[in-house]
Symmetry: C2
Subunit: 338 residues, 2 copies
């Protein structure tokens, strides 16, 4: 069985999600320098751990956003109750209404149905979610004040608006990104003018410093980071990798590591390996081809870097904080599932 | 919180993994007709549920194979102890050696290191894993008898050989598939001639009836099935889908369902939707475009069919057995993680 107090990465069961503590610290500091305190609303969907959320709260980022009711419930259970935003539409919000005396909980709404579910479920605060170019959730700017009126008529406080310019996270030219984010946020600000409230919430890791129009930025990936953002001019580096054990070595030139499809999110493509090519992944295997002259023996350990951190984290029960090969902490990934 | 005894799919929290009980029954019957009893060694990695494994055992398929030590541990804990094969290389097998008095446990080995770990870990039975064309685990045919001798010298029983022709699962022309499987299995049979033992283990859902050279077939995906096998001439149909709730409807023509990247394995591509196109998935969203003239309201429910069942199942805590919209059973997915 797994060693519960490993001192070294050599003691970890594999596959294991490991986080370089120094890189994590640097990522948090780089974000904090631009968006201190409540200017940042960390998005827990990216890391799903109340341990990391507590660390962010101790740095002054005490408002959080979440993508699922369960994430909000977990934050409340961890005592992170200052200002929690379900930044997503849900009809299953009565479970959060039950927590209204324990925490300030706000939910996003973009339709009569989601608003009425919030009202019926005892939710006391909402943001009007406005579609700003990403083909996903969000109402039209014209519908936003109508929903706000409906909410206020029911005694629900409308704290403002939110809109996610997710389609612009990966615009690689910074000048172009700024122009397109401004255009997108103009839609949100126009809606805000008609809705009122103190909050204009939006943004993400890719636009954390180019979206200067929101009162708060929803970013989470910057903490653990992944290779998907590599092409951008961001000050964040991948902190997270999948530690695996070499379980087979072929004379034909490949090796097999026990990091497979069940340990890594594949929607952004294969993970990366610093010693060569990732040939393919199976459920519990990665077949790798060294191209740097390195030689490998069964039992050696190596790390892969995931292309998309959010769904990767969601596949693990725990992340291990490491300094080099020393294990310095164990953080439960306790906000998983729904 | 989730209703623990839902009667209808309308009562399920979403996203939910639902299994059509009638299709599952038909898939199991179709396999059983070709590979009765121990001719089939069901691979639990595809469904990760001892409830489904117990159902297979009650049908006479009492030998199982697994991809991780934890899957083997879970089978032992569920009393499915007749004949368990870790059909994968691992150095973390002492945890299975501790169970040797409770169950017959066999592990695959393809190197001195994995064999020595098995010996040191108290494993009493091994199969020699031979590479038969898939660039993954497995020793060369020449190394197989050397490993067998080393095992026997240490008092470990060599039950035979295994080899997985995974590269041939998707050969769409049946005649071509038979020819190539035969060629691949000739390697395994030659190794078997030099190794001995009563077992020649291999195959999978894609070759369940074309691999006639193994004494037992390792198949698991056929139970829950996915769309990846659609092009083949197999008698199995997708039994499993992701039930989601429509959380947003856009006047621009798309709808959003709460089935995202954290609920579905994406390595084989997007899930399918019978009413139209899957535009893209985010962490907790699928943006869908109806093309069949159907209209949708917030709160409606719909199902997506995953392209790869194994990593999809591994993302959920439970699967719900359904007949139409009636929920008839709840099976824990209790063999997850490592």
């Amino acid at each position: 069985m797994a060693n519960e107090s490993p001192e070294s990465t050599d003691d970890l069961p594999t596959p294991a999600l490991v986080v370089d503590a120094a890189v994590l610290d640097a990522n948090l500091a780089a974000m904090d320098a631009v968006l201190p305190g409540r200017r940042l609303r960390p998005h827990v969907k990216a890391f799903k751990s109340t341990a990391l959320a507590s660390r962010l709260a101790s740095d002054g980022h005490t408002g959080f956003c979440a993508a699922t009711p369960r994430e909000v419930e977990g934050l409340v259970a961890a005592g992170l109750t200052d200002d929690l935003l379900l930044a997503n539409e849900s009809l299953d919000v009565a479970r959060l209404g039950e927590l209204a005396d324990l925490a300030q909980i706000t939910v996003a709404v973009d339709s009569e149905e989601t608003l009425d579910a919030a009202i019926a479920g005892g939710i006391r605060h909402v943001l009007i979610d406005v579609e700003v170019g990403l083909p996903r959730c969000g109402c039209s700017p014209d519908d936003a004040p109508v929903l706000a009126d409906r909410a206020r008529s029911a005694g629900v406080k409308v704290r403002g608006v939110m809109g996610y310019e997710g389609h612009l996270m990966m615009v690689d030219d910074r000048t172009d990104r700024i122009a397109r984010v401004e255009e997108s946020m103009q839609i949100l600000r126009d809606a805000h003018d008609r809705v009122g409230g103190e909050i204009v919430s939006g943004g993400g890791t890719g636009t954390f410093d180019t979206n200067t129009w929101c009162t708060e930025i929803q970013a989470g990936s910057y903490t653990l980071m992944d290779t998907h953002y590599d092409g951008l001019d961001l000050p964040f580096r991948p902190a997270t990798s999948l530690l695996g054990t070499v379980i087979s070595v072929s004379a034909k030139g490949w090796i097999v590591v026990d990091v497979g499809l069940k340990a890594v999110g594949m929607d952004h493509g294969d993970p990366s390996w610093s010693h060569g090519d990732v040939f393919f992944l199976s459920d519990e295997h990665a077949t790798l081809v060294p191209t740097d002259g390195s030689t490998w023996r069964v039992g050696d350990r190596t790390r892969l870097t995931p292309a998309h951190i959010d769904p990767t984290v969601a596949r693990h029960e725990v992340m291990w904080l490491v300094v080099g090969d020393a294990v310095v902490d164990r953080w439960a990934i306790d906000l998983r599932h729904w």
